[in-house]
């Protein structure tokens, strides 16, 4: 076997850009939740019902966090913060998985989650500082005819399996394949993630971080750009543009 067995962590370098990245402009986000719905449709995410959702089992891969600055009535800003998997370069979820279900994809430099390998220890979710992993607590019902809307490109997950945002890896693969068949490199605009596609305010931008000319590279280098929890040094690939003063 000369084939390289994937490492549990990517060869991580400080300040490394990564391959794919996302920019969320909090100044544009209206908190409309369209991205949440689009993501659920694209990725066959289950709906859990009122009771379980209220108990903290909602399975959205992206959630809109509504934050407050200042105390009522002197509220200065109420930014919305759509939070999805940050696809860390040095992800805490990867080394703790006993069966390599949470594993770094070397080809795409993303945190892959191998659903069929997951045994459900939920250690990865505990170790995720952004709390963006969701677990299939039950086999959720999909009453007919809702099963007809399942995306054939995405696995339907069983109970007892962890899942999370993949940056719509099925779309990435498709766009890369198309680019390859047309004998060219992947370029900006070849694909959009589901959340980006659905965002009416264009607050979500996806693209290649390793291409300095791409829109996402340029935007992520703006002064307004911040990472979530930068003090942990886990190099997340999502940049948030703060609300303008």
């Amino acid at each position: 076997m000369d084939k390289k067995i994937p490492e549990f962590k990517a060869n991580f370098a400080e300040e490394e850009q990564g391959k794919w990245g996302l920019v969320v402009d909090q100044d544009l986000c209206t908190g409309c939740n369209a991205c949440v719905v689009a993501c659920s449709m694209e990725n066959n995410v289950s709906f859990v019902g009122e009771d379980d959702a209220a108990y903290g089992r909602a399975m959205h891969w992206i959630r809109i966090e509504r934050l407050w600055e200042g105390e009522y009535p002197e509220v200065k800003k109420t930014p919305y913060q759509p939070t999805m998997c940050q696809q860390c370069g040095d992800a805490p979820c990867e080394p703790v998985c006993p069966v390599f279900a949470a594993v770094h994809s070397e080809a795409q430099d993303l945190n892959a989650q191998v659903y069929n390998r997951c045994v459900g220890t939920r250690y990865c979710a505990n170790n995720c500082p952004y709390q963006v992993r969701v677990f299939n607590w039950r086999d959720w019902e999909r009453p007919t005819p809702l099963e007809n809307q399942l995306n054939p490109d995405v696995t339907v997950r069983q109970r007892g399996v962890m899942e999370k945002c993949t940056f719509c890896i099925q779309r990435i693969r498709k766009a890369e394949d198309t680019a390859k068949s047309e004998n060219r490199e992947f370029q900006d605009g070849d694909m959009q993630t589901a959340c980006q596609q659905a965002c009416p305010a264009n607050a979500i931008i996806f693209g290649r971080l390793d291409d300095p000319e791409s829109q996402v590279s340029k935007m992520s280098k703006q002064d307004r750009g911040t990472e979530l929890l930068p003090e942990l040094g886990i190099s997340p690939r999502v940049t948030y543009l703060e609300v303008r003063k």
């Binding site: 934050l67 939920r122 500082p129 007892g160 942990l232």
Partner: protein
């Protein structure tokens, strides 16, 4: 026998000495045949209450453990109380708790054997049984915790055509290896000193028991060579199992300590967990001994106030050790002033489960410190039982605070939440019932007192008169 004659003489000696040989098992010998018969009788006679208890416990195990677990496997973990952010709940609390219980068996048996603490002799086996049965509960609890338990063998390194191996860098993998090692080693360590007693039982029983003991005793006849081999093996095992014991709970603590979470990411968790395990474990050993003494025949001869006194002293010392490590852990985290740790510590004390945090301190520190200093109190089975029970409740609270309560707070305030156990309650009751059931069945199948160790101790011990004082003397047989 010279030893007997000597000790009988000394019991009639003058009043100036406080030493009463009748207080000490090793100075109060009985003929070997009589003692063997006592142990056989304790093992073979069963009161009707025993069968009632077995039936009740069997029913609880069937409903709470088997039925509820099957239900949970079919429905998914949704029937338990775990959610986001509390992904780990009571199952992991139970795992840590039972591994803690299992520690005392090895500690009492191996450490006291290594240091030649003579009072250990009558109850090493009762403690070792707790190790094996406690570990079984811990293993079951881990399996319950898994989302897809029918795939648990993926965590085992076995060769397969897809060349998939488990991740040896995951603390859960270390856990699996450590617990398996400990279970195997402690079962062997339980079996080794059992061989002479099984041979004794084989020679004194009939019917199916004789067949069973003949197989289990491995043809032990008690020759000089066999004893020499046994002592040799026991010595190796007693030393070898101690590092295994310390490593197991340290590795369990690493499940938490290596995580990037406030409150868990603490370098002192290793020793803190080990001392916590001993705290609950020794308390549990005392409780089991008190129950065994009260319910089984002839046990009042073997287990005496001196043993409760010794265990009481151990409990007091371990309680002080636990308080030291708790203070260390708390103090450094609090002084560090990290924002998230600050929220977490506040959540522990003043959150909705704050009462548990204070009860933990009362049960683990105040209760043992206020009662066990008194020799009269700690020698009383009733007081020791209550203190042991409270310590175990306190230690269960400690694990509950570390796992589900601490998980409620993380670095993402938007996802903070609370936890309410669901089907976990049944399954927890089920593991406790299974532990007691296994222990009760074992108490009727194997001699619960290591007779040969007691006899060896009694041979070595005598009261010698030196001047006017009477002093216990130990001859080293080995």
């Amino acid at each position: 026998m010279a030893v007997q004659a000597e000790s009988k003489q000394s019991s009639h000696a003058g009043d100036h000495s406080k030493l009463d040989p009748k207080d000490h098992l090793l100075l109060d010998p009985k003929p070997r045949g009589e003692m063997n018969a006592m142990v056989m009788e304790a093992m073979q006679t069963t009161h009707w209450r025993f069968w009632v208890a077995v039936a009740v416990l069997g029913g609880i195990v069937a409903y709470c453990l088997v039925y509820m677990w099957i239900y949970m496997i079919q429905e998914g973990l949704g029937v338990a109380g775990v959610n986001r952010p509390v992904y780990w709940g009571v199952f992991l609390v139970n795992t840590v708790f039972w591994i803690g219980i299992s520690h005392a068996g090895t500690f009492v048996s191996a450490l006291l054997r290594v240091f030649k603490a003579e009072y250990r002799r009558p109850f090493t086996r009762a403690a070792e049984l707790m190790t094996s049965f406690g570990l079984i509960q811990a293993g079951i609890s881990i399996l319950m915790h898994m989302g897809r338990v029918w795939r648990f063998y993926w965590m085992v390194p076995y060769p397969n055509e897809r060349m998939l191996w488990p991740n040896f860098r995951s603390p859960l993998m270390w856990d699996l290896l450590a617990i398996t090692t400990y279970l195997l080693a402690s079962t062997m360590y339980l079996f080794l000193p059992l061989i002479p007693d099984l041979a004794m039982a084989r020679d004194r029983s009939t019917g199916w028991r004789k067949k069973l003991y003949r197989v289990l005793a491995l043809g032990f006849r008690g020759t000089e060579k066999e004893w020499s081999h046994l002592h040799h093996a026991l010595n190796i095992f007693a030393f070898a199992i101690l590092p295994v014991m310390f490593s197991v709970h340290t590795i369990v603590s690493w499940d938490f300590a290596v995580a990037t979470r406030p409150g868990w990411n603490s370098t002192i968790f290793g020793p803190y967990f080990v001392i916590g395990a001993l705290h609950s474990g020794i308390a549990a050993v005392s409780m089991v001994l008190i129950v065994v003494r009260a319910t089984m025949k002839n046990m009042k001869y073997f287990i005496r106030k001196e043993h409760f006194n010794a265990l009481g002293v151990l409990m007091l010392i371990v309680s002080m050790g636990w308080a030291y490590f708790f203070f260390n852990d708390f103090m450094v985290q609090w002084y560090g002033g990290d924002k998230w740790t600050h929220f977490l510590l506040h959540w522990h004390e003043a959150g909705p489960i704050g009462w548990m945090w204070f009860l933990m301190l009362i049960f683990n520190i105040a209760v043992p410190w206020l009662t066990l200093w008194n020799k009269k109190w700690r020698s009383s089975p009733l007081v020791l039982f209550v203190v042991g029970l409270l310590i175990n409740v306190g230690m269960y609270f400690e694990r509950y605070i570390i796992v589900p309560v601490s998980l409620g707070i993380n670095r993402n305030p938007f996802s903070w939440g609370e936890y309410k156990p669901g089907v976990e309650i049944y399954l927890t009751i089920g593991t406790f019932a299974l532990f007691i059931l296994l222990y009760m069945i074992a108490s009727k199948l194997i001699p619960l007192v290591p007779v040969w160790e007691v006899q060896e101790g009694q041979l070595a011990h005598s009261v010698r008169k030196i001047g006017k004082a009477e002093l216990p003397a130990v001859t080293d047989l080995e």
